[in-house]
């Protein structure tokens, strides 16, 4: 990460469980209000269901178990991000409504951090992990393959 892009980038701060994290603002399409979460039988435990947003069917991930050790199912807001790597698919993660925009100094992650931690953002008030959304989803899927359970 270069000094120029660390200084200018904006981040969305979000809360998952007791912790706050940051996502690069350019990866975030929308913070959607509580809308109906449609659920149906499947065997992808990291997926909580789907929502319909702007005529799109958007899969919703519960990354709570990965990030905080407990499900974020009680949360009712959806942070919608754009899939990277040319996939282009929108996907959402369950979050609390406490989201805000922030800028700050970003430092590279420590070597022992998880693959989905892209750096550390220091704001005037706190220091939070910056998440790589693609790596986060990939980690959630790896985690679910390690212990698959059906979700009705």
């Amino acid at each position: 990460m270069t000094a120029s892009n660390t200084a200018k980038r904006s981040f969305v701060l979000l809360r998952i469980g007791p912790r706050r994290f940051a996502l690069p603002a350019e990866a975030v399409a929308e913070l959607a209000p509580p809308v109906k979460l449609h659920v149906f039988p499947h065997t992808s435990p990291s997926v909580a269901g789907v929502i319909v947003r702007r005529r799109r069917i958007v899969p919703v991930y519960d990354v709570g178990p990965l990030l905080s050790g407990r499900s974020a199912h009680g949360e009712q807001f959806y942070l919608i991000t754009r899939g990277g790597g040319g996939a282009g698919e929108f996907r959402a993660i369950l979050v609390s409504g406490e989201c805000e925009l922030a800028t700050g100094e970003v430092r590279p992650p420590d070597a022992d951090r998880q693959a989905y931690v892209a750096g550390t953002l220091r704001t005037s008030e706190e220091t939070v992990d910056v998440l790589d959304p693609d790596a986060l989803i990939a980690s959630a899927q790896v985690r679910e393959r390690a212990g698959v359970e059906a979700r009705p």
Binding site: K36, H38, P41, H42, S44, P59, P152
Partner: protein
């Protein structure tokens, strides 16, 4: 609630009316299938849709005899027949067995419902196992018949 293309369904019957046409399959390790159905010169394996999708047990009242797969499906009820504007591909987020179960998602009256794929009710392995179990059952019946004669 689930959707299935109307063109995939040959016939819909009550479970009561099919009792005489159903034969129990013994010793199967495909627990969602307990019967086979001889109907209209065809043999279909009867899949309990609730068990297939991992749903709580119910008392299915209807049998959907599917047109192309060798499958009949036990369901609780038919909600309605409707037209859908289109079937959306299943998002890539879904990576498990549901990719075989569903051909996509449809948006019907403010609800997103999965559209089931008829060929997804039984894998080739399950079909082969059921065929072996059915053949073994038929052979047993023949032997019993011969012994009684």
């Amino acid at each position: 609630m689930f959707g299935i293309a109307a063109s995939s369904v040959q016939e819909i019957r009550s479970t009561d009316s099919m009792a005489g046409a159903a034969n129990e399959i013994e010793h199967t390790n495909v627990p969602k299938v307990r019967h086979m159905l001889e109907w209209g010169h065809r043999t279909s394996y009867v899949v309990n849709a609730g068990m297939h999708f991992g749903l709580p047990a119910t008392r299915p009242a209807l049998v959907l005899i599917l047109r192309e797969a060798r499958v009949a499906v036990l369901v609780d009820k038919i909600d309605r027949m409707t037209e859908v504007a289109g079937v959306h591909p299943l998002p890539r987020a879904f990576t498990g067995e549901e990719r075989r179960w569903y051909s996509g998602l449809a948006y019907v009256d403010d609800s997103v419902i999965p559209v089931v794929q008829p060929s997804g009710f039984l894998t080739q392995e399950e079909l082969a196992h059921l065929e072996r179990a059915a053949e073994a059952g038929a052979a047993r019946s023949e032997m019993q018949g011969a012994a009684q004669a």
